[in-house]
Symmetry: C2
Subunit: 335 residues, 2 copies
């Protein structure tokens, strides 16, 4: 193909909080697939808090540098194929970056089924779903009757982790930003209680909501919320360390929460870090279970979709400020 495609660059590394002005939209020559490559049209880009962490330094991947096309993962459609096993019209999961067209080796994309809605491949059957499922069940291990607390409870992972905990027979308390979001968690998603993390004295609110202590804390935030939950954990409690969104949007990590390691010892807690892809060998079984819950109406999938490549910077900035409900996705092109 000829012509140009659009892409969004990280123009400069943010100092402090990320702003849309840290990005710049640009044009590039239309990519052409080499032998073994496919030409992809980007359909849906997934937005995740970890996108911000990539700017702080190496994580499970190398650090993002100023001037690079913003990393990003997307569902895309194969438009032209010079790779074995892939043909035009195939839907794939790929590290396209924030651009509307990309050429990449067929070996680096993963074919996906054309389900309806396609966005479920990014939410419930994608990394958010796998993160909630394995983090909660393998690291948190909630038992019926236990108390589970989920932070960033209104987000892509939190909405699922909380509902899955209820499906295990646990009592579930969400922590989220704002009274509206808290009311929504209780009303629409069946959370037993929800706490606004902006309210004063989070620890007192946790104590009220969890009078017997927290058995499982699914931690999406780190920072002060982790510190408060550590102090309210029950003996032999488990903390599933999923991420630390409270620390991503700023300079390099600050001091950790008080009580580490003191409370870990005295309460005999376990903290376990995990990344969904560690469980790839059990992905099929997880999808089967999640699909059964979704199709029977016991698990609601909340998606928050906006339109247009150019909306990506604002969508990420808003995500970091907690503006989303459920899985934030940007539709770059319709399938």
């Amino acid at each position: 193909m000829v012509g140009t495609c659009r892409q969004i660059l990280l123009a400069e590394l943010p100092e402090g909080r990320l702003a849309a002005s840290n990005f710049r939209i640009g044009e590039a020559p239309m990519p052409t697939p080499d032998a073994g490559e496919v030409l992809l049209r980007t359909l849906y880009v997934t937005l995740d808090a970890s996108n911000r962490a990539w700017m702080q330094g190496p994580t499970y991947r190398s650090a993002l540098k100023a001037g690079e096309v913003m990393y990003g993962r997307a569902l895309a459609e194969v438009v032209e194929s010079r790779a074995e096993g892939l043909k035009p019209g195939d839907i794939v999961w790929a590290e396209t970056g924030w651009r509307d067209w990309a050429a990449m080796p067929g070996a680096r994309v993963g074919k996906r089924p054309r389900i309806d809605p396609l966005t479920h491949l990014l939410s419930i059957y994608g990394i958010s779903g796998m993160t909630a499922y394995f983090g909660l069940l393998d690291c948190g291990r909630p038992q019926p009757g236990e108390t589970v607390v989920v932070s960033a409870a209104g987000g892509a992972v939190g909405t699922l982790a909380g509902q899955i905990a209820r499906l295990q027979g646990a009592r579930v308390v969400g922590i989220a930003g704002g009274a509206d979001k808290c009311a929504w968690l209780k009303r629409d998603l069946g959370f037993d209680d929800a706490i606004d993390h902006r309210a004063p004295d989070l620890r007192a609110r946790l104590r009220e909501a969890c009078p017997l202590g927290i058995d499982v804390y699914f931690d999406n935030t780190g920072g002060e919320i982790l510190e408060a939950c550590l102090a309210e954990m029950a003996q032999h409690g488990r903390i599933a360390c999923c991420g630390s969104v409270s620390t991503y949007d700023g300079p390099s990590p600050a001091a950790g929460p008080r009580g580490v390691p003191g409370l870990i010892v005295t309460k005999r807690l376990s903290l376990t870090g995990f990344i969904a892809t560690d469980f790839d060998d059990r992905r099929g079984a997880a999808i089967t279970q999640l699909r059964a819950w979704v199709e029977s109406g016991r698990l609601k999938v909340i998606e928050d979709i906006s339109d247009g490549l150019e909306s990506l910077p604002e969508a990420l900035v808003g995500l970091l400020a907690g503006a989303n409900r459920g899985k934030r996705i940007v539709r770059v092109a319709s399938p």
Copy 2:
């Protein structure tokens, strides 16, 4: 019996570092056992860093208050018994506190065999041995060829945890205070390497000593040493959280280590807190294994014994400053 006994009171709660002057020696009427009680003569008092933590607030026990007899655990001899199943001459493990005579319910003491040396009941077959054994094997789970780092490596637990790790086929690096202690760990206890935590740039020294990263970190210290080890952990590393001696000797806990929870997530670490008594149901099997190692000369038991009830305050202050090698015990009376 008539007359008086001696006891040591925590005269005032320390502000900052504990000093011998925070204690006061006093006399009390000789205790008399009621029905169901035994009169105990204190033989050996065990000193542990956790003694200091009791002054900071509630831990796994209620907080120590100014004016109270200092809590303490000891081996004692039954001198008079009004309790079923206990007779004069029996050796027991009891929460006598820092006093030379104590009366307490028979139900609250634990009978022990008269082994030689008796002090092994406090070190290798006592809480230090159980702590090293279960913390390392159950929480750390070292595999042959892995790299294990032990902090406070010259202490009661550290000397044992390091040697047990070597017996599992791991490569063992100790962290201790001072070049002499480090040399001793390598020469006498078979540590593969030892790092002086007072040397500048602990992280660089850890990187040299553990070029493939740390698979298991047995953390006795918390604080800056934990922070440095977190940064040098290998992927899927395990941290056995045994205590945080670096934070006990001061006011209430400061901020935690940087990298919590960020590094826990990106490296998929697990941190597990434990207390030896959680494993009481498997104590017999642990003792059998430890005795086999000790009797075959493969595990050295290091004890650091001083004399006299009045030496307890200095013994504890010295322990917190790392003056001991191995298990610090004060002999209050000879058996």
